[in-house]
Subunit: 264 residues, 2 copies
């Protein structure tokens, strides 16, 4: 009934083939300062937790590389990381359960598969999908607070859909980039933005070939302002054109965001 | 977008009628040592949090009485409490939002209504409904861990339904009572037990006129053992008849349980 009852696998180095592993991981980001290790800071990160569990399994240091960074408080349904095994005796299909008995409850290894030696979780990704969840009811919910952004005002989802259309395609998304992580180019391609509703939940699903720092949260904050009527859908072309962060809406809070899928 | 933006209500005592209020409250119990105040212990409880928020609103002590105690880690979708206002200026329909701006995020006042002066949240309750949620998949979910019990083995819900039928009706439920809270009589009436499924979720819904200490969790633990085949549905009559706690199944963990509804 509890994590502790998952079978314990004996896994010592020494008798298996060296493999490149693609590991899919789900996590609740609430307790973490993001995915990326912050060496020497002592701050808890998803990468640190994964490397600690893997090192415990391998009896050696095992660095992992993620498909993308998620910020502090952001979740993942299916983040992808890669790493190289030593000569472990453990079969590939037992890696995820063995890790789960060593990981904290808020991080779960969903599955592991062997991939080609040149596989790279970040460079080989062709698309990523993020979902931003809004709990759109006057009264907040204690059960939704960790996984949604509570918006008590009515939102016009049709206006949000109209606005979202302008984001699709290849654009310079400088207006939707937070400062702090300079990149060579702010040009990205968004393949689609979907606004779905499910009871009191509104989900903004954004699929693209890559995302700038806090880009999905700034897109979501901007679409929320459109939904409230503070911006018009037709303001979007000008906001994109301005290439100026101050023109877009507020950055929506991290707990509403999750990395949904990474495609290769 | 955030709790802090809910309008602040000015509420000073002195110019309104004294009222008896029935307040409906939702909470995530993870961070609390149960509903009931444990005077002098310093342990956080739901009752303490409600009384602190009410006292802040009323500028005076306001004791609250709950429909029932929930244990440490147990949640509520609609717990009911009553209290008596002083001569507050605040209208009844503004009590819930005013409390929400004073309560922590994991406790939400859902609604307040004025009731007759002799209303009592516990004594007037004619039925309570509890829901026990099981996440029944091999791999756990980081997003379900706080609100479900993870059971990795397949469960036979049809056998659980067969077993549940024996619990319905008026019985001495001594076999389903944890020690620690002696009561005069262990006779209770269960109006219905429903086993519902929704994807990987199995929900055990129990409606009754009253419940013994940890009764729903022991019922749930017993039904899980039936689902796994460790007990047979036809063991239930003997377990009930034995009036002996050791005969029933394990006590299922608290995070799977929520108080769903209190009827008057």
């Amino acid at each position: 009934m509890k994590r502790g009852t998952i079978p314990f696998f004996l896994c010592y180095p020494g008798s298996g083939p060296v493999r490149k592993i693609k590991l899919t991981v789900a996590y609740e980001g609430t307790a973490y300062c993001g995915f990326q290790k912050q060496s020497g800071s002592g701050l808890p990160t998803i990468q640190d937790a994964l490397e600690t569990a893997l090192s415990n399994l391998a009896k050696a240091e095992v660095p992992v590389t993620g498909a993308g960074r998620t910020d502090a408080g952001v979740h993942a349904l299916a983040q992808v990381v890669h790493f190289t095994t030593g000569e472990w005796a453990i079969p590939t299909d037992k890696i995820a359960p063995a890790l789960n008995s060593r990981l904290p409850d808020d991080i779960v290894a969903v599955g592991a598969e062997e991939v080609a030696p040149d596989f790279h979780a970040r460079y080989n990704a062709v698309a990523k999908t993020y979902v931003y969840s809004i709990y759109n009811r006057k009264t907040p919910s204690p059960f939704r607070r960790l996984y949604t952004c509570h918006v008590p005002w009515p939102l016009d989802t049709e206006a949000m859909r109209q606005a979202a259309k302008y984001l699709v395609g290849q654009h310079d998304f400088s207006s939707f980039q937070a400062s702090g992580r300079p990149v060579k180019s702010a040009i990205r391609t968004i393949f689609g933005v979907d606004i779905g509703t499910d009871g009191s939940l509104i989900r903004i699903t954004v699929r693209g070939n890559g995302f700038l720092y806090q880009m999905v949260r700034i897109i979501s904050g901007t679409l929320i302002e459109v939904g409230r009527g503070k911006l018009s859908p037709d303001d979007l072309p000008n906001i994109i054109e301005a290439k100026n962060r101050t023109r877009a809406g507020e950055t929506a809070p991290p707990q509403g965001l999750r990395l949904e899928k990474v495609e290769y």
